[in-house]
Amino acid sequence: MSATNSSQVRHGTNGQFSIKKHKFALNFNSRVKSDKAELGSPPGYVTNAQFNVPVVEPSDVNLIVKKSWEIASGPIRQLPMNLFIMYMAGNSISIFPIMMIGMLFLKPVKALLQINATFKLIEGNQSLFQKFVYLLGNLLCLALALYKCQSMGLLPIHPSDWLDFVEPQPRIEFSGGSLSH
């Protein structure tokens, strides 16, 4: 049954057309009704087609790990370049170094916020380590940004940065007086 169906499909678009083509019909009484009931599949559609599903092999697992490593080591690999850019930017506070610092901050912070989405991509037996490397890389980037801020003097780590918040001491004792002749 399935063989006839498949042969039919191979020869014509529908039952009528195949009926027209065939000069001799062997069992057309019983088939016509059933043909009317269900239309043939659209062209190119195979209901029970058999595909060649590749078999997972051990060499492919290595690929997954490799890909995951790529994701995990991305932030660390950016580090030297960032270092170079920051070195070139200098410590003066002007618009471009500030923009660069901003970018430097933004990237790892963004990455850390989306860390769960990224972790889903990381698979394989080394995933735990890779996740750690990814986190470390981002943290290193952040550290680099902080270091740059510090060297530019943008971090409030000196007492002078908190001077404005020092409250004046309340006056408790009052004195006064004047000279007389």
């Binding site: 410590n91 003097g153 000196h158 007492p159 002078s160 940065d161 001077l163 404005d164 020092v166 409250e167 004046p168 001491q169 309340p170 006056r171 408790i172 004792e173 009052f174 004195s175 006064g176 007086g177 004047s178 000279l179 007389s180 002749h181």
Partner: protein, 954 residues
């Protein structure tokens, strides 16, 4: 050529456009007018006025403006002036010290310029009292000096430009017969004519014609009860010449004249001799005579008397009856009606009376009694000034609602506040509407009396303030600081005037005895008792216990009180009572304490443990601290005396003729930053002890060397609570003038270095170190005291620091130079860390910037006087005595009022105007650009949405 001139003129105008934009200056001729005379040249309508105490010779035109002014030695005193017919104006000044006196005789030209034609000076041994008589027609000046009536010396000078410094003819009398005892030549005697001396003792009138060398006396016209006394009065003619008349008047304690006896000194020909009584005028205070060249023997007599509503000028006929009299009325509460000097000037046939009142108002009246002009010369002798804030809307609309106690917690005051805001918005809208309707803006000067109150409204930035002023002659002024110093209110108080003059005389006599002049400290104290915008209250305390409370906004005396006791200390309390009034603590010589007003005693009692008072005399080395912590609440019926308790006393090393100077910080000073950021970004915390006092004592110290004595200046830092000295420095061979500035954590003082013969400025800064200071009850001395001295290239007359409302703005030090300039120099130049900074690794500005620190200019001993730092450009201010500082509501701006012979008001912005937009800021452009951007964004939004829709359809 003319084209070039035109261009130059245009450029010149560019620079001059900001003159008097926000500053003004008023010039004066000084107080204590000696005489006023009309220029003898017929073409020039000038009136020459000479002033005694200020020692100024000036010419005033017929509008009452100064044509020229010559300022003589400040310490000197003008004792006589007279006008020569054609030659010039002769003046005599005396400069008195303990060891010697100097007479300056000068002759000035009578033209528009007042050139010095001839000058002569003479040195006298010892402190001398001198009287002068000038015979202008012969250019002869007779100066009679002596310490008593029996020892007299006469110097006759011939003022001639060909013989400068010609030796005078001297004549000496010793042991004169019948000389009156116990007379002071200056106070009790007058020189009449060329060589007649008349002295007054309590019993008789003494008289000597110097050519006779014999005293004779004459009984006084009548015996007087205790509250009245006799006063001798000179009578001069219109040229300031003495023609042989003098007056003797009876004065009551209240300065009212009862009778005026007119005398004539017999001339040489008249052998009957002696003094001749001519007539008696009732009520007349001053008499002046008009002599004409045609009839020298029949002078015309004019007398002036004060009435309840003004003054009355009378002309007397030959029979001494009043021939003609005119009276003029003015407000006698605002101005004095008692007279100081009276002179007559003649313009052709026109006669003008120049009257100087006791409050030093100089006024000119024509023969009908109309005032032609008047000058408030009292403003040249300001002893105290204070900026008083104005309310944000007119006081009249708020008058009834804002008298309630300003307790900020009660519902009613909250309602008041809301209401006041509502009223201010309403007034603002009305004013906007009005200015919209009246197209032409009223000029500020055109504001008349009725709208005076309306005009007393603060501007947005709080620049518009009132200047409350007390003068040496007991007159209170309230000036408008933006309308060129327009006088808003005046008030004259005769009692205050007498107190000030008496105290000044006392100080002078003490100084004369000690032979050393101390810096002038104000003889009165003034306190702003109530800060309320609508009802400010200023209280004046005189040293004799006379108190006046004045409302400067309404020009009303609220209260006056005479305690009849000598006040040795007055102090404003820091805590206000529920009426918003800060009490004044007054302590008399017996340490008895009173409170003013009495009700503030209750407020004081709740804080009594925390109040300390520092008491010292200017001329002693003893300093003591007093406390009132034992004060008990009053129970009715118990009569007790609040005696202050001495908690500490300190005696500084003894100096001969010491003069003490005390420098407190401003009471309500705001210090924004609690520390100083160093170049390595560490913090040096400031030492901000509010009870720290800077003391300077100066005098002579005896040394072991042969030279004997040297002048020293001693500097101390003292804690006023405990009396402990935290720091001290002695400058040997240094002397006055000493000026002191004490603010925040720095002290700057200047002195004269006698060894190097230069003015030096010493600067101190006090720090707690790099650790946070402990909280207040713990008292620690400053851990770090930085001290550095600088050389200042010129003399200093006054020094002050700028003050701003929150203390964020950098400080500048304002220095009044002897040349008349006011220098504003950044505080950074006085930084004592400049020397150590120069050797640090941050010494270059680039290095300091690199480290984010503050750059200090490297140390150079001389302080610069940059010409752009002279804030009064070409408006020189003569003889500056004091710089008063006020704050505006704008943080960047500090208001200045400089007083001296001239007064000058301006404002300074030490850190530039960082908190307001620049004048040339283009509001229109910004609005257009913003509006355009907004439109663009709306349009693009619309276009973008249409585009996406279209794309979806495709």
């Amino acid at each position: 050529m003319s084209c070039a001139c035109e261009i130059l003129r245009i450029i010149y105008a560019l620079y001059e456009d900001q003159i008097h934009k926000w500053d003004w200056r008023q010039q004066f001729i000084g107080i204590d007018v000696d005489s006023c005379m009309r220029s003898n040249s017929e073409t020039k309508d000038l009136i020459f006025c000479t002033t005694g105490e200020t020692n100024v010779i000036s010419a005033i035109n017929r509008k009452g403006e100064i044509a020229w002014r010559n300022i003589q030695e400040e310490q000197g005193r003008l004792i006589g002036s007279s006008l020569h017919k054609t030659d010039g104006l002769i003046t005599v000044s005396l400069y008195k010290t303990k060891n010697g006196s100097k007479i300056f005789i000068r002759k000035w030209s009578q033209d528009d310029y007042g050139f010095l034609i001839a000058e002569n000076s003479h040195f006298l041994q010892g402190s001398q009292n001198c009287l002068v008589s000038i015979d202008a027609s012969k250019s002869l000046v007779n100066v009679l000096c002596g310490e008593s009536g029996s020892q007299l010396k006469k110097f006759q000078f011939l003022v001639n430009k060909d013989q400068p410094n010609a030796k005078p003819e001297e004549q000496e009398w010793t042991n004169l017969d019948g000389s009156p005892t116990d007379v002071n030549l200056e106070n009790d005697c007058i020189f009449v004519g060329v060589d007649n001396l008349v002295c007054l003792t309590s019993f008789s009138l003494h008289y000597i014609a110097l050519r006779d060398s014999r005293w004779s006396n004459q009984p006084l016209p009548e015996a007087l009860p205790g509250d009245k006394r006799y006063v001798l009065e000179r009578i001069l003619n219109q040229n300031g010449a003495d023609v042989g008349y003098f007056g003797l008047k009876i004065v009551r304690n209240t300065k009212e004249t009862e009778r005026f006896y007119l005398y004539k000194v017999a001339s040489d020909e008249d052998k009957s001799g002696g003094l001749q009584w001519l007539t008696t005028f009732p009520k007349i205070q001053k008499v002046s005579i008009l002599t004409s060249a045609n009839e020298p023997s029949h002078p015309q007599f004019y007398g002036v008397s004060s009435t309840k509503t003004g003054i009355e000028i009378s002309k007397f006929g030959l029979d001494w009856k009043v021939e003609k009299s005119v009276s003029t009325n003015f407000d006698c509460k605002s101005h004095a009606n008692s007279l100081h000097r009276f002179s007559i000037v003649q313009f052709g046939s026109e006669i003008e009376f120049i009257v100087t009142f006791d409050d030093q108002r100089l006024a000119s009246f024509d023969s009908k009694g109309n005032m032609k002009w008047s000058r408030e010369e009292g403003l040249s002798s300001i002893i105290w000034s204070q900026f008083v804030s104005l309310p944000y809307f007119s006081a009249s609309s708020a008058k009834h609602d804002f008298r309630s106690p300003n307790d900020f917690l009660s519902l009613s005051s909250f309602k008041n506040r809301i209401y006041s805001q509502f009223v201010s918005i309403q007034e603002y809208i009305i004013s906007l509407y009005e200015s919209f309707l009246t197209s032409e803006k009223k000029t500020l000067e055109a504001v008349d009396e009725e709208s005076r109150e309306k005009s007393l409204v603060s501007d947005v930035f709080g620049f518009h303030k009132l200047l409350f002023i007390v003068t040496k002659r007991g007159k209170l002024f309230v000036l408008d600081n933006v309308r060129n110093g327009k006088i808003i209110w005046t008030h004259f108080d005769a009692k205050l005037k007498d107190d000030i003059i008496e105290e000044q005389k006392r100080i002078d006599s003490i100084e004369m005895e000690r032979g050393r002049k101390c810096d002038k400290i104000p003889v009165i104290s003034v306190y702003l008792q109530r800060h309320n915008l609508f009802t400010p209250k200023v209280t004046i305390v005189s040293p004799k216990g006379y108190l006046i409370s004045y409302n400067p906004l309404e020009g009303r005396v609220e209260d006056s009180l005479d305690l009849n006791t000598r006040i040795k200390l007055s102090m404003l309390m820091h805590h206000a009572d529920d009426q918003g009034i800060k009490g004044i603590i007054l302590m008399n010589e017996a340490d008895k304490v009173t409170f003013y007003p009495e009700s503030t005693r209750e407020t004081f009692l709740s804080h009594k443990n925390n109040y300390y008072m520092l008491v010292s005399k200017q001329t002693s080395e003893q300093i003591s601290g007093y406390s009132l912590r034992h004060l008990q609440p009053t129970s009715p019926g118990s009569s007790h005396e609040d005696i202050a308790q001495r908690v500490w006393s300190l005696s500084l090393p003894t100096l001969i003729g010491s003069c003490l100077q005390v420098g407190w910080k401003e009471v309500d000073e705001h210090v924004h930053s609690q520390g100083k950021v160093l170049a390595d970004r560490a913090v040096l915390y400031k030492y901000l002890n509010p009870n720290l006092v800077a003391l300077i004592n100066r005098g002579e110290e005896s040394t072991d060397e042969e030279s004997g004595k040297i002048n020293v200046v001693q500097f101390y830092l003292l804690d006023a609570i405990t009396g402990s000295i935290y720091y001290s420095v002695v400058h040997r061979r240094a002397s006055d003038p000493v000026h002191l500035v004490h603010s925040e954590n720095f002290i700057i003082y200047s002195f004269y270095n006698e060894k190097q013969r230069r003015i030096e400025i010493s600067s101190l800064e006090l720090f707690e170190g790099k650790e946070m200071p402990p909280p207040p009850p713990v008292r620690t001395p400053p851990k770090i005291v930085e001290h550095l001295s600088f050389i200042f290239p010129t003399g200093i007359r006054a020094m002050r620091e700028t003050q701003t409302i929150r203390g964020i703005t950098n400080k500048h030090i304002l220095i009044a130079l002897t040349s008349g300039g006011i220098l504003s120099l950044p505080k950074i130049f006085f930084d004592p860390r400049r020397a150590s900074f120069a050797t640090s690794k941050y010494a270059s500005s680039a290095a300091a910037m690199e480290e984010g620190g503050v750059y200090l200019p490297p140390y150079i001993p001389e302080l610069p006087i940059p010409s752009e730092g002279i804030i009064n450009y070409n408006q020189s201010v003569a003889d500056v005595n004091h710089i008063y500082v006020g704050v505006s509501s704008l943080e960047s701006t500090c208001l200045l009022f400089i007083t001296g012979l001239d007064i000058y008001y301006t404002r300074v912005t030490p850190s530039k105007t960082f908190d307001i937009l620049k004048d040339d800021f283009d509001h229109l452009l910004i609005i257009i650009v913003l509006a355009a951007l907004l439109l663009f964004s709306i349009a693009t939004k619309y276009l973008a949405s249409r585009k996406t829709l279209n794309a979806a359809w495709k």
